[in-house]
């Protein structure tokens, strides 16, 4: 079939069963947008207000479904606006395919209008990228892009396509998506060794990372925790990978982890890490982390072994497959007194919060949790509200919590929310935001309004850059340099200006009725919730200290 390059792109998207893409038009992608018009009954395009929003939306689409997300931007500034979103996806191993237009092939490298070397720019933040100079390579390159993005440890892939390539005609032949690349699997000897370690442990600690979500290993992790009879902690990236309602679940570990997880870390005799890269936010002080017990690490990416911390036994493979293999080798264990000890810590050290006056973020999020039966998809921006969301919403299942863990991108959440809502029209999607973050991405309120995406923007408005201010309080003698916002922005009016309904919460009593109303709206809505600026994220491990010793108050 003789098609233009732009039509071939559409056909390749259909091969991959892509139903929704996010993007923003421009000169270099005119042919692509013309084809999008032609294919509009099969491929839905959501135009965000800014390309960064499109990249985050594709990321939210991918994180909430497990499928690859797609974003499209024009050359030059359109492409560079994607970069933060691509880097965000890279740091959290999210499969995103970014398609950028570029100037005609014969104008490449001449500093032409709106030309930028986007493959050069994105090399460090993509799993791989391509520049397609010949129409005959276009279809195969796109197929490879999807294959690479989704295989093994997922990641973003960028495909840069000059304008004339999208205009030329070429013979298109339909094809099945390329099979995912084969996964490594540890050899029998190492599995046996691991099983021996597991059997020999009296106080095992199971720690789950984002890889558990990526590999779809939650069910296996649950059975494994029960068979091992171990308490479980999860990284920020793995919120929902283990049901937070389970008595085994101890909450997060690391800088803002729970005291229970910290005590378990201090007292365990085997640390089993699945699908985690041991971020410095978790290790806190790498030299002191789990220094008295062996570490068993399961990861699909061999480069994660002995990178941030030395481990005693490494199993290279897909988390789900490796857990299945281990389950077959592990008899039912019993660690009654250890589990009792953990339960006692949980009772002794609950997560609390206090403020001199007004609304507590904890109460807001716990009310949201109750009203949504712990079932909403929660996205977040970055800051204190992000940690509170992870601490107080009781996630039941994977792909329910979408947050920028690795890059820590303020502005991620609203874009991700609209992507997740587009991918899951039947779900309640709530973006928990801070006012600093909302100032960065409020333009995307127009997108949720335009497309009537029923995203709930839940603003925990403390009039400060809370997380940074907390550090200033702790480490800079309370010199609040540039973190007091007090901007007079009326967020309700702002939302209404974009066509988004708005409510306000100013007192504790208003929390429940207002949240109830907002959730019943079934349309885009913002809730401006005024919270005390002096509430801290606690516990907190101060820089350089051991993850075993979090501060409980400050």
């Amino acid at each position: 079939m003789l098609l233009t390059g732009a039509q071939i792109i559409m056909e390749c998207l259909l091969e991959q069963k892509v139903d929704t893409v996010f993007g923003y038009p421009g000169g270099a992608v005119l042919n692509i947008y013309d084809a999008l018009y032609e294919y509009r009954d099969r491929i839905c395009h959501i135009r965000t207000a800014h390309e960064q929003g499109a990249a985050h939306a594709a990321d939210g689409y991918a994180r909430s479904t497990g499928k690859a997300g797609v974003c499209i931007a024009t050359s030059g500034p359109g492409a560079t606006n994607l970069v933060t979103g691509i880097a965000t996806a890279y740091m959290d191993s999210v499969p995103v395919v970014a398609i950028t237009g570029n100037v005609n092939v014969d104008l490449l490298g001449l500093d032409s209008f709106q030309e930028v070397d986007i493959t050069g720019i994105t090399m460090p933040v993509t799993k791989h990228n391509f520049l397609v100079k010949h129409i005959e390579d276009l279809a195969d390159t796109l197929r490879q892009a999807f294959q690479i993005a989704q295989s093994g440890r997922p990641g973003p892939v960028l495909v840069d396509i000059p304008k004339d390539v999208t205009g030329q005609k070429y013979d298109y032949q339909k094809s099945e998506p390329l099979p995912l690349m084969p996964l490594p699997h540890p050899d029998e000897k190492h599995l046996q060794q691991a099983a021996e370690m597991l059997r020999g442990s009296a106080r095992p600690f199971l720690y789950l990372g984002g890889g558990v979500v990526a590999s779809g290993a939650s069910a296996e992790a649950k059975v494994f925790a029960e068979k091992l009879d171990a308490p479980v902690s999860a990284s920020l990236m793995a919120q929902g990978a283990f049901d937070a309602h389970s008595p085994r679940y101890m909450g997060m570990l690391g800088m803002h982890g729970t005291k229970t997880s910290a005590e378990a870390l201090r007292n365990c005799d085997l640390f089993v890490a699945v699908g985690t890269r041991f971020s410095d936010r978790v290790l806190c002080n790498a030299g002191l982390f789990a220094r008295n017990c062996p570490i068993l690490q399961i990861d699909i990416d061999a480069a994660e072994f002995n990178k941030n911390i030395d481990v005693d036994l490494r199993l290279e493979g897909d988390a789900r497959q490796v857990l299945q293999s281990l389950l077959a080798l592990l008899p039912q264990q019993e660690h009654t007194s250890w589990m009792q000890q953990v339960a006692a810590w949980q009772k002794q050290y609950p997560l609390t919060q206090s403020a001199k006056a007004g609304v507590l973020p904890k109460d807001v999020i716990e009310t949201l949790d109750a009203l949504t039966d712990s079932n909403a998809i929660i996205t977040t921006e970055v800051g204190q509200h992000q940690m509170w969301a992870a601490q107080f919403y009781k996630f039941r299942r994977p792909r329910q919590f979408l947050s920028s863990g690795g890059l820590g991108t303020m502005g991620y959440g609203l874009g991700a929310a609209l992507g997740a809502q587009a991918a899951n029209p039947g779900s309640t999607v709530v973006n928990i935001a801070g006012d600093g973050s909302l100032h960065m991405n409020c333009v995307e309120l127009s997108t949720v309004a335009n497309y009537q995406l029923p995203v709930v923007e839940l603003l925990l408005n403390n009039s400060v850059l809370g997380m940074v201010r907390q550090w200033q309080k702790l480490f800079y003698g309370g010199r609040f340099s540039q973190t007091t916002l007090d901007t007079n922005t009326d967020f309700c009016k702002l939302a209404e200006a974009f066509g988004v309904k708005a409510y306000r919460i100013r007192t504790k009593e208003e929390i429940e009725p207002v949240l109830r109303k907002a959730l019943a709206e079934h349309g885009p809505v913002l809730v401006d919730c005024w919270v005390d600026r002096d509430v801290n994220v606690l516990p907190m491990v101060p820089a350089g200290a051991s993850a075993e010793d979090p501060m409980l108050e400050m």
């Binding site: 493959t119 050069g120 090399m123 460090p124 791989h128 480069a303 002995n306």
Partner: protein
């Protein structure tokens, strides 16, 4: 540069598909992760679809294992071998321009003979010598030529081939 006693030099031999930007991808990975490249040599192989890239890095075992794994992850990279010095032939190529007078000429020719260096060019007041050898040989050659007045040094990075 600060080097502790565990720091050694390693030669990474990388076989990579000849796609555009492949050298940038690989060298970019080194700079991004703060691995120090001492030298880099890239060339086509017997199969024109592939390039061979030889990189000398310094670091301890742990860093080298990381480098190896990070480079292996790149989509264009087919294979990475860390060559050990005693199990590989390692050669460098040197071009050296040295000043010459009627008095020193004979000495320089003698020096070239001892090292089996080639004399590529002779000008009234300078000559260009060529030498291939391991880094040690090349270093001593330069040292011995130094008193005569070295005008320019050009040396490639290490080429290495497993035995």
């Amino acid at each position: 540069m600060h080097e502790d006693e565990n720091t050694k030099q390693y030669v990474l031999s990388i076989l990579a598909r000849n796609n555009p930007g492949v050298l940038l991808r690989i060298s970019g990975l080194f700079s991004r992760r703060c691995y120090n490249i001492l030298s880099i040599v890239a060339c086509q192989t017997e199969d024109t679809d592939y390039s061979r890239i030889l990189i000398v890095v310094s670091g301890d075992d742990r860093i080298i294992r990381q480098v190896d794994k990070q480079v292996s992850k790149l989509i264009d990279v087919e294979n990475v071998t860390v060559l050990q010095r005693d199990k590989a032939v390692i050669r460098e190529h040197l071009l050296l321009k040295v000043s010459r007078t009627a008095q020193t000429s004979e000495k320089l020719v003698e020096l070239a003979n001892v090292f089996h260096a080639n004399i590529l060019d002779v000008e009234p007041d300078s000559m260009i010598l060529e030498l291939t050898g391991d880094a040690g040989t090349i270093n001593s050659f330069i040292e011995l030529a130094n008193p005569y007045g070295v005008l320019q040094i050009l040396r490639t990075g290490a080429m290495a081939m497993g035995k």
